[in-house]
Symmetry: C2
């Protein structure tokens, strides 16, 4: 089972209008509502490719209630931590004429007690739920976790150390962890010894205050991360280790909807790492397969109209095309 934590889930609403205009009343021609937040995208992609997945997430208010019901409908097992704040909504307005406009609500502020409950739920699910009375609904009978994924932003005013607590809980149990967060939460995950830190390039540079990808990756490796995987969109994906960098190009000739492609890549990455039992550290051959899987999952996600979905046939097709040569840029130690 892969355990996926979404610290700041959202009700993702998309409004289609004829033409975006400021200052007018616009009839919404189509409404889509989806459970959002990067971790839920990762979890849905994993589940859609047949990987047993369990989501842990704080939920509050009617938005939280809606997400819980929808995850039930989707068949994605989940442990909900009830919080007093209202789970946020994001509204994205689209037409065929301009770039989408996104309105992001600030989301709830969690209390220390609520964070403690999230952490306790993570620890419980890392160990697996043997189905005792008192197990979370939907969680009964879950096996111990083979991997922990933490993905997406933290709610505002959060202590980034919560991510470190989850990573530490995984490490102590010999469970590999993949963290796709930004800012101080990314640094905290590295310091706690995350197996993989997986920011995109912009997030990496911003979090580390560096000007180039390699320097930023070395910063995270220096803090304690085992591997730093950097997704670069159409420029492919790279795994940084202290001595060298492994790179895989993006699948060529794929265009469509890039939203959530990075989350699908995370799913593709963790699938391979779990299959190879990459604890405490993946070897280079496993990492290259994981990068190719990430690229294939990311490309398959681009073909889908919505985030958090891939067609497994697309993934297989992209994996079976002859791989472009991978670069192994061996470096002398710094």
């Amino acid at each position: 089972m892969i355990l996926v934590v979404t610290p700041n889930p959202a009700v993702d609403v998309t409004y289609r209008v004829a033409e975006q205009r400021i200052g007018e009343t616009q009839r919404v021609l189509g409404v889509q509502r989806r459970p959002g937040g990067k971790g839920l995208n990762v979890g849905r992609v994993l589940a859609s490719t047949g990987v047993r997945t369990h989501a842990v997430l704080p939920l509050g208010g009617d938005g939280g209630h809606w997400i819980a019901g929808t995850l039930d409908d989707l068949g994605l097992a989940h442990t909900d931590v009830a919080v007093r704040g209202e789970t946020r909504t994001t509204v994205t307005v689209v037409d065929d004429l301009a770039h989408p406009t996104m309105f992001g609500e600030p989301g709830p502020v969690l209390t220390p007690d609520e964070w403690d409950t999230v952490t306790a739920s993570v620890e419980t699910m890392l160990d697996g739920d043997v189905g005792d009375v008192g197990g979370a609904a939907g969680a009964a009978g879950a096996p111990p976790a083979a991997a922990l994924v933490v993905s997406g932003s933290l709610p505002r005013d959060s202590d980034p150390d919560v991510v470190a607590r989850w990573v530490t809980a995984a490490r102590r149990r010999g469970v590999l962890s993949v963290v796709d967060c930004s800012g101080t939460a990314l640094l905290a995950a590295a310091s706690a010894g995350a197996t993989v830190c997986k920011p995109n390039r912009e997030e990496l540079l911003e979090a580390t205050g560096t000007d180039d990808e390699r320097s930023g990756a070395l910063r995270l490796l220096g803090l304690g991360a085992t591997v730093v995987v950097v997704s670069r969109g159409s420029d492919g994906i790279a795994a940084h280790l202290s001595e060298h960098v492994l790179e895989v190009p993006a699948v060529p000739g794929v265009s469509g909807n890039p939203t959530g492609a990075g989350d699908a890549a995370t799913a593709g990455l963790v699938r391979v790492l779990v299959d190879a039992r990459s604890v405490p550290a993946p070897d280079d051959a496993t990492l290259l397969r994981a990068l190719r899987s990430a690229a294939a999952h990311g490309a398959a996600a681009v073909l889908q109209p919505v985030a958090g979905a891939v067609d497994p046939a697309d993934v297989d097709r992209f994996l079976s095309t002859p791989p472009a040569p991978a670069h192994d840029r061996t470096r002398t130690p710094a």
Copy 2:
């Protein structure tokens, strides 16, 4: 008790942003959520001025659940008709630089059975609920209705005849009715013999296909309405009868938020009509007092930052200012 039907309620969400821009991600600085729909504005103003009020409304999905809970919190008694569709949301984006942008979801389509249940609820509440087992939650012990208010749009694909059924149900019981709808629903209300049709001028011209207010009002009177009250914003408010027109100017020197001012005016109008027991038809003196009350409530609503609210002290202040002379434009019969 005044019975208020809101055929198409909404979760009204307001997002404050720094500056509206198309094609960008915008941080929402403030979120407000309110139960919306014109009838709920009328009901909240009535309740805030101490008038016993009961709302009937179709509600579905999480939005409907949220509205029901919020009406409980506000202390507004309500009978909810559960519908399969999702109660709509409207999102209004505001900044300090441009006009607000409003995104209106289409809302649910109600089945004939669901409409029948709405009508049955209207009939039950017109008769009053004596508190028997089986009474709607919050409705037990309600006295018979002294007035029926129907306000706001119908959901898409609705048969406008549902409004006629409610008006007829009121008329048969000797209960006065005030209908603020648009389009064919307004015509249906007039044909069913509504005591007051209360469109704004644009709605009147659009529904009747006429070019001037008097012609449009005569059309509704000819169909069967007893009085046609037309709200004109800063140009005041008029009551059209077959032989003459009564007019009251707007309260001068009031500026602020016009959203919902027309709904507050409806509340002010119906309060006076109920107090004067204006069945089957209000006399001219009552109508003039009702128009002045409508203008005072509308002006008081403009001073509030949100729709569906007045400060009763503002209403009293505007009512106690010396009234401008009313115009009685007696006409010869057409």
